[in-house]
């Protein structure tokens, strides 16, 4: 589904990804861990093709097609959907308007209303301006609803569980678990709460724009929970000295 080959990416001339290799098979869900500022969001944005993230070298292959030079909206239409961590406020544009445009021709209205019910998105939230005065839980539910309405082949979730209370987490977790049955995904999570619901097949750890290890999600998460990213930093140093 997705293959990254030695991906180097910069923003405003600053190198944020420094040779990332990653492969996510069809129907696989992977999780990406890493300390703040390690480049996790940059990786998500680079896969999506968000303006400003410039590929210096390496390739992004999606669904067998090299999308390295394709603009974001084209990638989205090919089937990449992303949940943003901090989506902007858009005055005057109601959540319902955007969902209507997004789901057009892909999802029928009965499906949409079922989705909204399951995510506890009522008409009052649908009628509000996008992200204006939304609570943390509302932002996440709105983001996930939008992405699910797109029916993407690959879902990238940037911190779907941050700033969300337990009730919302359960709602989101169940819906995502259900939707990951037939699609691929990359989940970025700091705390790993979402892994109580969604079970990825593989985990990766990112340090300073490099993936330093791959492995079993639970094992890696437990390691990080016990001793933070101390070990990962050591692995990073080892990896970098190997490169030299």
């Amino acid at each position: 589904m997705l293959k990254l080959e030695n991906l180097h990416v910069s923003i405003d001339g600053r190198l944020v990804l420094r040779g990332v290799d990653l492969e996510i098979g069809d129907g696989e869900v992977h999780v990406l861990f890493g300390p703040n500022g390690s480049g996790k969001t940059s990786l998500a944005m680079s896969i999506l093709g968000y303006p400003g993230y410039r590929v210096i070298s390496g390739r992004i292959i999606f669904d067998g097609v090299d999308i390295t030079d394709k603009p974001m909206d084209e990638r989205v239409r090919m089937g990449i959907g992303a949940v943003f961590q901090n989506p902007p406020k858009i005055y005057g544009v109601r959540l319902k308007d955007l969902i209507k445009i997004i789901s057009k021709s892909k999802v029928n209205s009965a499906e949409i209303s079922g989705l909204m019910d399951r995510l506890n998105i009522d008409s009052s939230l649908l009628n509000r301006y996008l992200n204006v005065g939304f609570s943390g839980g509302e932002v996440k539910r709105s983001e996930i609803a939008q992405v699910l309405a797109m029916k993407p082949k690959l879902m990238i979730l940037d911190e779907p569980d941050s700033g969300v209370d337990l009730d919302n987490l359960q709602l989101i977790g169940r819906e995502l678990a259900e939707n990951f049955k037939d699609r691929s995904g990359l989940i970025i999570t700091h705390h790993g709460y979402i892994l109580n619901y969604v079970k990825p097949v593989k985990a990766h750890v990112m340090i300073n724009g490099v993936i330093v290890c791959d492995g079993e999600p639970e094992k890696i998460l437990n390691r990080i929970r016990e001793s933070g990213y101390r070990w990962c930093r050591k692995c990073y140093e080892m990896k970098m000295s190997e490169r030299l």
């Binding site: 974001m72 943003f84 902007p88 005055y91 005057g92 544009v93 308007d97 445009i101 939008q146 797109m150």
Partner: protein, 401 residues
């Protein structure tokens, strides 16, 4: 009662805001004969939200140039609403004179002075005590003769406990390019009454408008005004001023404008919170394309205990040749008042565009959605057919965008 001499002197007085117009450059007094409400006229009506084809079934007031050509009260509201020309009202009720020029000063500037001395027509609407008129009352002002001044003076009285929605559409006949509309409107919202006053304007690239609106809201009264102006005109200036003298009275003023061409607009809203616990919200949303210049002025004065006010001025620039300035003013005379404002001007934000594009919209689709969002009328609480009409008007104005 009017100090005629003072008013005459004021004929030379430029307005505080907006370009100064030479009143002698317009015709006055002579109008062409208006034949009938034909397709051109009814289409224009529709564009400003007024349904003239169904005039017989709705409460309707139609004024063309200097005279009222149609007026009727919807049958089911015969006992609830009085609708007549201001001249008829002055003849019928002694007290009407006492309500005129109380909420605006005839000596304010040359436009009020001219209207005070020369007004020809205008409506009188009175919603009787405790009556609720759930279907909008429509009023339409049309300019039919090229190049003239149309001075009108309107009076609305919402008696205690009454409720109504007034929809005013002001426009020009498609063949007219030049002229000046002077509208003075005084609105009294009595105890516990609720009045929604929606105004949609459509003019032409050479046309001028000066409007002077004064509002008084008594205890527990609610006044909601909605203003929508789309397209082009030469110059426009208006700053409705509301005095909330009643305790717990409320007002909300929503303005949405989209200007093209070389239009110059100075649009404001002013609320004096004089009653304890009174509240106000002013929203001024403006979009400037081409060479349009827009100034928005909001002013809220907290003069009584526990008042609240919020002012929001947002401007969207669609061209480097356009200009938007926004001047929010808050003044407080009480410690326990809560007044706030937010103001922002800019082009369409990149992060918003990118976000929508990340949802699969093309750049054009994303821009169009953001611009339409700026002109959102959904929060005005309009009845559904009117909202749809206004949305159609917006779509028409944005065609090709």
């Amino acid at each position: 009662m009017l100090r005629d001499e003072d008013v005459r002197k004021a004929l030379e007085k430029p307005a505080k805001y907006g370009a100064d117009l030479d009143l002698s450059s317009y015709g006055f007094g002579e109008a062409e004969e208006f034949a009938e409400i034909d397709r051109d006229v009814s289409r224009r009506g529709m564009e400003v939200g007024v349904d003239l084809d169904r005039r017989k079934y709705l409460s309707t007031f139609l004024h063309v140039d200097y005279s009222t050509v149609y007026k009727s009260v919807q049958r089911q509201f015969k006992d609830d609403l009085e609708l007549m020309t201001i001249e008829e009202a002055l003849k019928r009720y002694d007290w009407v004179r006492g309500l005129l020029w109380k909420l605006r000063d005839p000596c304010e500037d040359k436009y009020t002075a001219f209207t005070a001395l020369n007004a020809k027509g205008g409506y009188f609407m009175r919603i009787l005590e405790g009556r609720k008129i759930l279907i909008p009352i429509q009023a339409c002002f049309l300019l039919f003769t090229q190049g003239i001044i149309q001075p009108v003076h309107n009076l609305i009285v919402a008696e205690p406990g009454s409720e109504a929605h007034i929809l005013t559409g002001c426009t020009i006949h498609p063949r007219v390019t030049r002229g000046l509309h002077l509208g003075v409107t005084e609105i009294y919202v009595r105890k516990g009454a609720k009045l929604t006053y929606t105004m949609v304007h459509k003019w032409g690239p050479e046309f001028d408008v000066r409007s002077r609106t004064g509002i008084l809201v008594e205890d527990g009264g609610v006044f909601v005004s909605n203003y929508v102006m789309l397209g082009e005109l030469r110059t426009f200036q208006s700053q409705p001023s509301a005095r909330l003298i009643g305790s717990s009275s409320r007002t909300s003023m929503n303005n949405v404008v989209y200007l093209r061409g070389r239009s110059e607009m100075d649009l404001g809203g002013e609320v004096l919170l004089e009653g304890a616990g009174s509240r106000a919200e002013i929203i001024l949303n403006s979009v400037a394309a081409d060479n349009a210049k827009i100034t928005t002025r909001g002013r809220i004065l907290g003069l009584a205990d526990n008042v609240k006010g919020h002012l929001s001025c947002r401007g969207l620039m669609l061209s480097d040749e356009a200009e938007i300035s926004t001047i929010p003013i808050l003044e407080s005379k009480k410690m326990n008042s809560e007044l706030s404002h937010e103001a922002a001007i800019g082009k369409i934000a990149e992060d918003q565009l990118n976000y929508l594009m990340a949802r699969g919209l093309s750049r054009d689709e994303a821009e169009s959605l953001i611009v339409r969002g700026f002109l959102d009328v959904g929060r005005m609480g309009l009845p559904r057919p009117i909202e749809e009409g206004v949305r159609r008007t917006i779509e028409l104005a944005l065609k090709g965008f």
